[in-house]
């Protein structure tokens, strides 16, 4: 049997090959969050924060977290496409380490997310976003963002393995929007009806958005509720919970993927 690390690296290299062969979809994924910031900032920034400029320090960290949620569909699409085309079966007929396919997916998707965060960060800087926290805080903030991505990755793997076909990805592409809006990414939940605000505060996306705003030294939400005041704790707990629940489910679904 080959080593897990070797096979995972080879498979991650395969995804890098995809980016090279088809750079346009990859660039679109990379730049889409930037478009979201420009759209939200330009169109709603004035209404939300008084001016687009005042909205930028609030919305950029939020969209950094949202970028991690967008990664869910990348993961899911890759997994379902391979399953539907029979590529997964080819892998499973090879003497590979059984965890390699999923580990390779993790590596490639995390690499893509690092690129996505870099693109969004550069765009944020161009729009006047700055961090005022120390280096420790900035490093911790990016760590939390990638941790969220890591948690969502396993959700994506599981959904991808369970999806009836690549068409199901379209459903997730739509559903990330309500999840994104029903959070503190764009708005302070204090402006929402109280029950809706409570849902938004418990959203894992909100936990990470709140935590990184604090670590970057950017303006945050008004707070006052338990989840809003424990953003950092929740931003660690939510991804761990996702991994604990979905990694074993994914591993079991992968072993059983006997369609």
């Amino acid at each position: 049997m080959n080593s897990l690390a070797h096979d995972a690296m080879v498979l991650a290299g395969r995804t890098v090959g995809h980016w090279r062969a088809q750079p346009v979809p990859f660039l679109v994924t990379l730049l889409f969050p930037v478009l979201v910031v420009l759209m939200m900032g330009g169109l709603f920034g004035g209404a939300i924060a008084g001016s687009a400029g005042d909205y930028v320090p609030f919305v950029v960290p939020g969209v950094l977290a949202l970028t991690m949620l967008f990664g869910l569909e990348t993961t899911m699409a890759a997994i379902t496409t391979d399953a539907a085309r029979g590529v997964t079966d080819r892998f499973r007929s090879l003497p590979m380490h059984s965890g390699a396919v999923l580990a390779g997916r993790c590596l490639a998707d995390l690499a893509a997310s690092v690129a996505g965060l870099a693109a969004m960060t550069l765009a944020g800087f161009a729009l006047g976003w700055r961090w005022s926290g120390g280096v420790d805080g900035v490093v911790a903030a990016y760590g939390l963002l990638l941790l969220l991505r890591f948690g969502l990755l396993w959700v994506g793997v599981y959904l991808g393995l369970k999806a009836p076909g690549p068409e199901a990805v379209a459903a997730i592409q739509i559903l990330v929007w309500p999840v994104g809006f029903l959070s503190t990414v764009f708005l302070d939940p204090a402006t929402m009806p109280s029950w809706l605000g409570a849902v938004a505060e418990w959203n894992p996306l909100s936990a990470t958005a709140d935590a990184v705003r604090e670590l970057f030294g950017n303006p945050g939400v008004a707070g006052g509720s338990w989840p809003a005041d424990h953003g950092q704790l929740l931003s660690v707990m939510w991804p761990i919970l996702m991994v604990v629940v979905f990694a074993p489910l994914s591993a079991a679904a992968y072993r059983r993927s006997n369609r």
């Binding site: 080879v10 395969r14 085309r85 003497p95 590979m96």
Partner: protein, 317 residues
């Protein structure tokens, strides 16, 4: 003779399915031979391949491939086999060469060795012109060739080929057949599934007919066809007022090795061989009976297939 594949009483019942997909599936394939698993859609061919290639767990039974137990030593099986066809595919976005390098590396070759092997296979399978083009742009035949090449990166001792020519045009089909034949010359054991009787006759030394999840009949193509009867002369006559076909049947009677069948204007005469067939025609000519159309037919696997289906459904009754 050494056995490359052996399955005993394999059973698989998919959850929610009405009937088991495999129900007492037995098969033995000698090393270095080609066995065709022949059956209609839903007969259990793909399930059998998926179980033997460790993609699917069986409910009951035992199976070994290249000496490795499918259940206990899946990794040993995977090291010894190649899988092509319906359920094994290639990466559509990457080029053919990149695919072969990928599968080579996943089989444990170094980067340089995988590249060298990929170059060799690209040339051997006639894909030089398309080597660096995305596989998504390949024709069906080219894809299937790449698919075969991908399963040969490290020469397997047993190759599973699941419906390799489904959806291919006749030229591409012949190409795939040629490739499979060359592999057999190299000493690879091949288990082929197909719904095409012609394909089984072309490629396989041993044919196992699968129906409702079990092998109902097996043997060489010649053995199977001899089960359903002899060479026949089939002639069609003008449906005239007089019973020409009936007269032709009576004339043919002395040459027949079995009962002569008459249906309206057609006569079917079982004969011992082709020489006997020409005698039948000569006798008709002497009597002034002139057929529209004459054919000498050897029984085909199609006839066997119909025979099997008939027998099995009669038993079921």
């Amino acid at each position: 003779m050494e056995t490359a594949i052996e399955a005993r009483s394999v059973r698989k019942h998919y959850r929610g399915a009405e009937r088991p997909a495999l129900d007492g599936f037995d098969l033995r394939v000698a090393a270095g031979s080609v066995c065709a698993l022949l059956g209609r859609n839903g007969a259990g061919k793909t399930t059998a391949v998926r179980i033997l290639t460790t993609l699917l767990a069986m409910d009951d039974g035992t199976a070994t491939v290249a000496g490795h137990d499918v259940r206990a030593d899946g990794d040993g099986v995977r090291r010894a086999i190649g899988l092509v066809g319906q359920n094994a595919a290639v990466d559509e976005i990457l080029g053919g060469r990149a695919n072969l390098v990928l599968f080579g590396r996943l089989r444990g070759l170094s980067k340089a060795a995988a590249r060298a092997r990929a170059a060799e296979l690209i040339t051997r399978f006639g894909l030089d012109d398309a080597a660096d083009r995305a596989v998504g742009t390949y024709s069906g035949g080219m894809r299937r060739r790449l698919d075969l090449a991908a399963s040969l990166v490290l020469a397997p001792s047993v190759l599973f080929v699941d419906e390799p020519t489904t959806g291919l045009d006749p030229d591409a089909r012949r190409e795939v057949w040629g490739t499979v034949r060359r592999l057999v010359d190299d000493g690879v054991t091949v288990l082929l599934t197909t719904q095409y009787l012609e394909e089984a006759e072309e490629l396989a030394g041993h044919v196992a007919m699968l129906r409702d999840g079990r092998v109902v009949l097996e043997g060489s193509p010649a053995e199977l066809t001899s089960l359903v009867g002899d060479t026949r002369v089939e002639a069609t006559f003008e449906p005239a007022a007089a019973d020409v076909a009936g007269a032709a049947a009576r004339v043919a009677e002395p040459y027949a090795v079995g009962p002569v069948a008459v249906s309206r204007s057609t006569v079917a005469v079982p004969v011992a061989d082709a020489v006997a067939a020409t005698r039948v025609c000569g006798a008709w000519a002497r009597e002034g009976l002139e057929p529209h159309d004459v054919a000498v037919r050897r029984p085909t696997l199609d006839d066997v297939f119909m025979h099997v289906n008939r027998t099995v459904s009669e038993e079921a009754r």
